[in-house]
Subunit: 208 residues, 2 copies
Amino acid sequence: MSDTSDESEAASDSRDEIMDATYRALCEHGHADLTMQHIADEAGKSTALLHYHFDTKEELLAAFIDHLITEFESTVAPDENDSATERLREFLDLWVLEPEEDDRTALHLALLELRSRGPFNETYREELARSDEVLRRIVVEIIRDGIEQGVFRDVEPEGTARLIVATLDGARTRQITLDDPAYSQRVRKQLEDQLVEGLLVSDDATRR
Amino acid sequence: MSDTSDESEAASDSRDEIMDATYRALCEHGHADLTMQHIADEAGKSTALLHYHFDTKEELLAAFIDHLITEFESTVAPDENDSATERLREFLDLWVLEPEEDDRTALHLALLELRSRGPFNETYREELARSDEVLRRIVVEIIRDGIEQGVFRDVEPEGTARLIVATLDGARTRQITLDDPAYSQRVRKQLEDQLVEGLLVSDDATRR
């Protein structure tokens, strides 16, 4: 029993190390030029070990997107003490890239390259679609909770969530591709002023 | 005199043909795999002629972005009879990719790849920044006109324009990368319901 458990723990540690190495390798090389060797080098492991876990680079990268989604989900897990308004604002904050976040900027540039391959790569596309669903579901839940709490007006949660996610995505894409560090921050503020404020039932709600 | 004029007309025709060929070559091959030979083949010209006009592929593609911006600007040139509300709605419509527009979808996927190279390529970055400015300026002008006409509330035109452009960009990116044909259309409707309607001074204004 304990052997099996140790083995599966070791495999899980090894996968985590590969995910961390993939992050660094993507930041360093971008998506188009990335090889299994780059990831193996970053992990201090052999490409044989990588191939033990993942048949192809595409499978490894799909697992990496899955890993990012899982991390993001655990970051936004609701705190029972937070109101829907706070949770929505925290969600918006998570998307904003600060000017000094060079690694996250590099990662999202690499992901943009990867995303442009989505329609040509079934494995990527499935993970990207899942990522989109997870993001929208998080916002839908916050909006539903806000409506139930009487904080938000009775808007259509699905459509509103889609609008918010698209806006944050576009803001980040423009920030990283134009190398304009404040772009996301400015759009985030505008989104809050013109959309989140519009969701609120009354001025009282903003002070909850 | 007439010789010079003929020559410059010929050069201009030739450039237009190269731009059309670049469009087709990008749709066919994407950005990462694109070569001058692909563009020359599409144009039915020699790579020598391409190099007579453009020193490098990057210069040609920067000129292509410039060409797209110019075309977009002429498409949205205001009709004096249109109200600001109509012009804003027309602007939103221009961004929506219809499901059957395979060529435009392929083009925007290639442009997304190109954009992910922006921070590493000065020539691209300058054109992308200009494109962003032009798009935002168009929306700023529509919003200013709307405020002057008494149709729109007294919002901050720059911030509102940035929000709208980011939203449309993100919606299109998600549509093309997720291969979800209705994504832009859904976000466009939501943007209209939750933002454009919010700009309007009163219900009367929507009927102008």
